[in-house]
Symmetry: C2
Subunit: 225 residues, 2 copies
Amino acid sequence: VQIAILAYEHLTALDAVGPYEIMSRLPGAETIVVGEARGPVRCDSRHLALVADAVLDEVTAPDVLVVPGWSGAEQARLLRRGPVQEWVRAVDHHTTWTTAVGTGAIVLAAADLLTGRRATTHWLAIDWLGELGAEPTRGPVVLDGKYVTADGASAGIEMGLTLAAAIGGVRTAEAIQLLVQYDPQPPFDGGSVETAPTELVTSMRALRRFIVTGAPDGLTAARTP
Amino acid sequence: VQIAILAYEHLTALDAVGPYEIMSRLPGAETIVVGEARGPVRCDSRHLALVADAVLDEVTAPDVLVVPGWSGAEQARLLRRGPVQEWVRAVDHHTTWTTAVGTGAIVLAAADLLTGRRATTHWLAIDWLGELGAEPTRGPVVLDGKYVTADGASAGIEMGLTLAAAIGGVRTAEAIQLLVQYDPQPPFDGGSVETAPTELVTSMRALRRFIVTGAPDGLTAARTP
């Protein structure tokens, strides 16, 4: 089972590392981090870099594709036609599972892979899934055929467990969960729009364009080539 | 606030990236990944590398030290006297918080920093904390003075939130939690010794030395220089 994780500048590290930590422990799995160029790829908060061990052309038929999300204003270019979008569309022909965490789903939707499909994404980006033809759906992990999307950081880990069970069986997934000791007990209760303080949700919504795309009028502008 | 994350070969990526993802978003935080050498550091499952942006000598007085855990047999050397142990002890004189995730606590304990203190670690390593003079304590996140330890992968994220609240206030921690959407809903229930199937716990205990130290007679052998 080859698992390709797409790495690009300004990705959210936890969106990539959560699924990695689970799925790389699947017996027989070969996980590979793929980027436009080989070498360090700096994450959204800029003080951590992951290494892309392969370039796009070297990974043509992964069994699983994982597209992590980003935050910050710089990644609108991922939504435009270009090498990354072309690669995502090409490898999707070969995947058993095409997946995304957080705003990674927007990349899949911009590649027209989620048209008419149920999918989730970061709560600040959920409306855009609809603009791009998907059916925005609440939930930590949403499955529609081979397309699997996770809404946030913890959901990326949970998506990894769900896929580990689908690929290797529930007992294997449980073993990995126990090995990494994924037994969450959040110290605060505010990890979702439903549980967070209302004024926090409102103020983040107001800053949405700075947090997610940087495009003043949202996704339409961001997609203009 | 300078936050130093120790990177070393065979570290568990999620142990480092969980706290990073939370604490790097603290206003005014400068997070830095520190290693024995600058450049890529390959994680335990070998298919992902993080980049050390600084070497030990360049980071002498961080406010927060984070030591991630490892898995696999190769890291016994971290428990011996050497540059990493000396650095951990030296920077501890300057920290406001000295912290570890998973087996990272064993590194702190081997540096004699947890003697007589309540601490937690990966469930397969918990006895060794006692052998090294700490007081093994159950819990996702355990605080004893400035020493904070987290038992597993999700607990590393939760430790980040706890420290974010201590440093920046609860409202800041809540904002970060909502931004990364840490709202766990595990698909399976087996993330702890208490909830996992008994035979899974038993078989992992039998493999403990392969999973955690590789030393046939445990930590004592591993520490012999």
